[in-house]
Amino acid sequence: MIREGTLNIVILCLLVAVPAYAYVMNEPFTITLATRAVIFALAGVGLNLALGQGGLVSFGHAAYFGMGGYAMGILASHAQNYDPIFDGAFLIEGTNSMPVIWVVAVVSSALLALLIGALSLRTSGVYFIMVTLAFGQMFYYFAISWPAYGGEDGLSIYVRNQFPGLNTLDPIQFFGICFAILCLVLLFVDRLNKSPFGLALNGAHQNEERARTVGINVYKLRLVAFVISGAITGLAGALFADLNRFVSPTMFSWAISGEIMIFIILGGVARLFGPVVGAAVYILLEHFLGGLSDYWFIYLGAILLGMVLFAKGGIIGKLAKKETHHGG
């Protein structure tokens, strides 16, 4: 058993070492795999705030992932076609500036999470899972049947979006961008978890009645957590679209919601780095098992089952004792 903080630093080092090695060995595909892992990790960090810290089992986080993706797709497609999004009393144009796209992705997925959260947080338990799943699927079918943005075929973006001062077409530089964002978000979520807000969220997860009887408005508390959670996953969706230069309704599918949840279960629920380890291991398994057999999902299922039965804290839980942060 090692300290969780030490383990987290080791994980970050590994996450940098792999693409750095691939860069030296000139293996761009490996860098892209690592970038995928980082982006999935970010999506998982978002869900983990709701699911791990808050106990809100959302089976519809693909809605925010897709929303972030389509924010990128819509803005960039208008920009590449020199076709304004809205031309009326005022003008809204597309853009291929990454920072602008990210802001739009974060804001739109936060608003979506506010809407879905406000309705679904009135339920709990299995109903909450079903309602969030239903919302996710609603957006999936909506995206399929919206021909303006590619419908079922999705949207291809031919120009890589821009980030000031960097060449985003260079895999290692784009990896750097994603990695930096992941680190910033991890820092943010760590502070959040330790703040009065995080303690209240965790307390309400463990004992809702207790949180109420000390004067905490549990509904409002969870709604705010849900919005932040959705916004982070939305940002990951925009980066995923940046990486692939392609968005499609698949980003909204329940399979994505399930995958994001798998990262967390593999890595460790409610552990800061749980989704990071989970996403990395998932990408590795997908790559190696996927190469061995088309039915790699069955092996993945078996591994997950073993995890849930024998290693409740996930990989992080196996390696590090949970840190309590008492005392000032």
Binding site: R191, L192, S195, P196, F197, L199, R212, G215, G328
Partner: protein, 251 residues
């Protein structure tokens, strides 16, 4: 009545055909321990829940600090200073003792939506939490995970969390349950001091404890209060003897 902190007026609550509260009126006055006794299933916990806000009465009203709180949520009543302890401990079991107390301070100060300063490094929250723990004698155990506390210590922590709420009144549902003679005696003495800080509506089965510390007693049977009075009044009341104390003797 001017010194009445909490007042319940003509509360009715039915579960199907069962009248759990059948026109209950009582009040809690400054500086007193008002004990609520009655046989199992009489409706004591149901009444406490309606006062705390977890259950809405079919009719009747609850007034707290001269304010009608009948439609207030649990959280709103708690923020006004209505502090409750549970018949079965309701604590965040994976958190430390200190974290549970800090949770109370967070709710009381309304600082749920402060996102950046670590809660466990916030001097204000910590001193409020530690003062409450010291008052119940749990200051040595602040770093212990709550799940590892003994039954008696959990009951103490329940009271400590209530104390972080800057309480104006306490609702305590069987705080002595399962505590043993020693613990229950100590708690009785503690409640007698505590009542000067805020009055206590006390549900309890331990009659020795009640007779030792209550200023007034109300007897609840089948959802109705059959008598309210001093310890001596209640002991002497023939209705109470047959309806309740008599049953105890026979049992």
């Amino acid at each position: 009545m001017a010194d009445s902190i909490l007042r319940v007026s003509d509360i009715h609550k039915s579960f199907g055909a069962l009248k759990a509260s059948d026109g209950i009126t009582l009040d809690l006055r400054q500086g007193e321990i008002h004990a609520l006794i009655g046989p199992n299933g009489a409706g004591k916990s149901t009444l406490i829940k309606q006062i705390a806000g977890g259950l809405r009465p079919d009719s009747g009203s609850v007034t707290f600090l001269d304010q009608d709180v009948t439609r207030h949520s649990v959280a709103e009543r708690a923020r006004l200073g209505l502090a409750r302890t549970f018949q079965i401990s309701a604590l965040a079991m994976d958190l430390t003792v200190l974290e549970n107390a800090v949770l109370g301070a967070i709710g009381q100060r309304g600082s749920v939506f402060s996102f950046f300063r670590p809660a466990m490094k916030n001097a204000g929250l910590l001193s409020q939490a530690r003062a409450a723990l010291a008052q119940v004698g749990l200051e040595e155990d602040e770093a212990t995970i709550t799940a590892e506390l003994s039954h008696g210590q959990r009951r103490q922590l329940e009271v400590a969390v209530a104390l972080t709420l800057a309480p104006k009144a306490f609702l305590m549902d069987e705080p002595m349950a399962g505590m043993g003679a020693e613990g229950s005696k100590a708690l009785t003495r503690f409640l007698q001091e505590l009542k000067h800080q805020a009055p206590i509506l006390l549900v309890e089965h331990d009659m020795d404890a009640i007779f030792a510390c209550a200023d007034r007693i109300s007897v609840l049977v089948y959802g109705k209060i059959i008598a309210t009075g001093s310890v001596d009044d209640i002991r002497a009341n023939p209705d109470v003897r047959t309806a309740y104390l008599g049953e105890e003797d026979a049992a």
